[in-house]
Amino acid sequence: MTTLSTLSRICSCILLTILVLARTAMPAAADELLIISNATDPAQAEVRFSEAELLALPQVTIRTRTEFTDGVVEFIGPLARDAVAFIETGAATSVHLVAANDYAIDIPLSDLTNYDVILALQANGERLTIRDKGPIWLMYPVDDHAELQDPTYTIRLIWQLTTMELR
């Protein structure tokens, strides 16, 4: 079990490295879902993710309740910190998140390391669409941490996420 887990981690690292190299080399794709940039380092190129690329990252499952869903929902998607890892964080301490509906919020960058925050692409086995808070819904493991069951974190559950700008 330990060997499998270690192998899985090694594979993930290799995959991430390949993706980083590919991302920095590739031009912007037409079906991109998410753009990550770093405002503290304007020279650094922004990273754009397509659905396939996000799905290629290690997928993490969160089972939790929210004020916007019925009962416990199983959310699946890559860890937000894995996606942010494609860019040099530099002196950034927060992330400015923007949604398709123009909703925007700043969250501490440390949230991504302190908690397994995911870029949820699926809910209860179904792909999230723009008509149902998709295609990306930033999801915290609310039920796993009592401190997350607070309005401070409820407003950070931003749906229809389109861009992440490190600040």
Binding site: E67, F68, Y103, I130, R131, P151, W159, Q160
Partner: protein, 556 residues
């Protein structure tokens, strides 16, 4: 006083009860606060409905611009805004936020109508094209604009409701805060009341303690005054009584007939009884004031037995009582303790058993006990049928209670007090087969084998007495002629005289292992191991007895 204590305790109980009630009420108020906090923590649903309105506005704006044929507006942009607005309507249909909005929507049915409208125009929007008839776009715009008015009405309803809810929550918090403040003040008042009551109580207890101490001091002073009076009166009475006894003795020496002699004897007996009683009163007084000190002298056990026997000689003769004393073969010959007080103890108990209990057969057995000596007084009694059989007179109530006793029990009471002072115990065994045993155990130092002693050889009786008195502090005993088991360690010889040399030689011969010490100025100092010059003091005697040898004697 009792009423005051009752009121104080009642107040304390009320204060405590009040504090408990306040604690419960405070807890309830806190719970209410928490509930309010929970309510305020909920997502503000007005935000959701207003965002729905905003999204509808954005959709209508982009659709309008598309209908007007603006070149920078694409069908894809219209579709995207349509989808986002759709997601807003979907939000109203899910989760806790949706549930709360639906409550406001109620019979308005705005959400259902909007959803139906979205479904109705979905295909048109998806396939949106500039080739579509202009009326179609206007129709969609008109329908969604009308729906927007209804959504606005829902938003206002939600806004009003949420404001009321938040106002209620704020009121609840304010109310519970006020309650908490009132409870805190009440608790403070009650606590102050409790502190006040406790201070009053403490002051009252202090006053009571001071009064008790004063009463005890007064009682103690009265008791001491009584004891002093008793002692003084006993002394005062004994002096003339001794005079009477002396005169009776003188009268007896005159020529008297038999009747007169009998009367004189009776008077003498009465006088002696009176004198003994006065002695008892003095002892009782000393015991009560705890001023008696036990002596530590070495004496021969047989001497104690002899003294007790002599004490009861006249009674035995007069009353026809059979009195025997047996000393166990294992008993030591010498004992260190207070001979006079031991004799007194035995005398009191035997007197009580003979005079009060009326026993005609008394046996005193003296034997070695684990930590001293046991004196068993075995008497013939008839149990509870015996008229004078009063064990309670011997034991009283408790171990040494001097406050309550019968007149006959004064002797046993004093005896018990003396035994207790010696660290001993008195046990009365229940009569069996017409005999009862009073067992007295007294811790004493027992001397087995020969006892170390000093021989005094002096012509003058005064010198003998002085030396004996001084030796009492230095050695256990003084040699007695004819007594067995005596180990003479030193001989004090009054120096001087024609026969000094002869006497010294004789004493050397009698006690070759003993040190020969001259008292006074010897003619031939070389005959002696040491010299103690006159006037003889305890220090000089101790120095002389230790001279030239290991110091063994100390003056204490």
């Amino acid at each position: 006083m009792k009423i005051s204590i009752g009121i104080t305790r009642g107040l304390m109980a009320v204060a405590l009860l009040g504090l408990m009630v306040l604690a419960v009420l405070g807890f309830r108020a806190q719970e209410k606060d928490m509930q309010s906090l929970r309510e305020q923590s909920q997502e503000i649903i007005y935000w959701s409905t207003s965002q729905g309105e905003a999204e509808l506005g954005r959709f209508l704006a982009v659709l309008g611009r598309f209908a007007l044929g603006e070149p920078d507006v694409t069908a894809k942009q219209v579709n995207r805004r349509f989808d986002i607005f759709w997601s807003r309507i979907e939000l109203f249909r899910q989760g806790d936020v949706g549930r709360r909005i639906r409550i406001y929507d109620g019979e308005l049915g705005v959400i259902a109508d909007l959803r139906a409208l979205l479904v109705k125009h979905e295909k048109t929007i998806v396939d949106l094209s500039h080739d579509d008839p202009a009326e179609l776009h206007r129709e969609i715009l008109a329908e969604f604009t009308a729906a927007g008015k209804r959504l606005r009405a829902l938003s206002m309803l939600v806004l009003g409701g949420e404001e009321r809810r938040l106002a209620g929550a704020r009121d609840a918090v304010r109310s519970s805060a006020r309650l908490t403040w009132i409870f805190s003040v009440a608790a403070l008042v009650l606590s102050l009341l409790l502190i006040g009551i406790m201070l009053i109580e403490t002051r009252r207890y202090r006053r009571m303690a001071a009064e008790s101490a004063e009463l005890a001091a007064r009682a103690e002073a009265a008791s001491r005054a009584k004891s002093r009076f008793l002692t003084m009166m006993s002394h005062e009475l004994r002096t003339p009584m001794n005079g009477v006894l002396g005169l009776l003795a003188l009268v007896r020496q005159t020529a008297l007939n038999k009747r007169q002699i009998r009367l004189i004897d009776q008077a003498d007996r009465s006088g002696r009884q009176m004198s003994a009683l006065l002695g008892d009163i003095l002892d009782f007084s000393d015991l009560q004031s705890e001023s008696l000190v036990m002596a530590r002298d070495m004496f021969e056990l047989r001497g104690l037995a002899r003294a007790v026997e002599e004490m009861f000689g006249p009674i035995i003769q007069r009353e026809g009582v059979k009195f025997t004393i047996e000393i166990d073969a294992d008993a030591p010959r010498w004992v260190v303790g207070d001979l006079t007080r031991l004799r007194q103890v035995l005398g009191h108990f035997v007197t009580f058993l003979v005079d009060v209990v009326g026993s005609k057969d008394v046996r005193l057995a003296i034997a070695r006990a684990p930590s001293g000596l046991a004196f068993d007084i075995d008497v013939a009694v008839q149990g509870s049928d015996q008229p004078g059989w009063q064990p309670e007179a011997i034991f009283g109530r408790g171990s040494a209670h001097y406050g309550d006793f019968a007149s006959d029990s004064l002797g046993p009471m004093i005896a018990r007090g003396l035994v207790s002072l010696m660290g001993g115990s008195v046990t009365l065994l229940r009569p069996v087969a017409g005999r009862a045993t009073l067992s007295i155990c007294v811790p004493l130092e027992l001397i087995d084998g020969a006892a170390d002693c000093v021989r005094i050889e002096a012509e003058s009786v005064t010198v003998q007495a002085v030396l004996a008195a001084l030796l009492r502090k230095l050695v256990r005993g003084v040699w007695e002629p004819g007594a067995a088991n005596q180990k003479v360690t030193a001989v004090l010889m009054e120096a001087g005289g024609e026969e000094e040399t002869v006497r010294a030689a004789r004493l050397r011969s009698d006690h070759p292992a003993a040190r020969l010490i001259a008292v006074g100025a010897p003619r031939s100092a070389g005959l002696f191991d040491a010299v103690c010059p006159q006037p003889v003091t305890a220090e000089a005697l101790a120095a002389a007895m230790s001279a030239g040898a290991e110091p063994q004697f100390e003056v204490s």
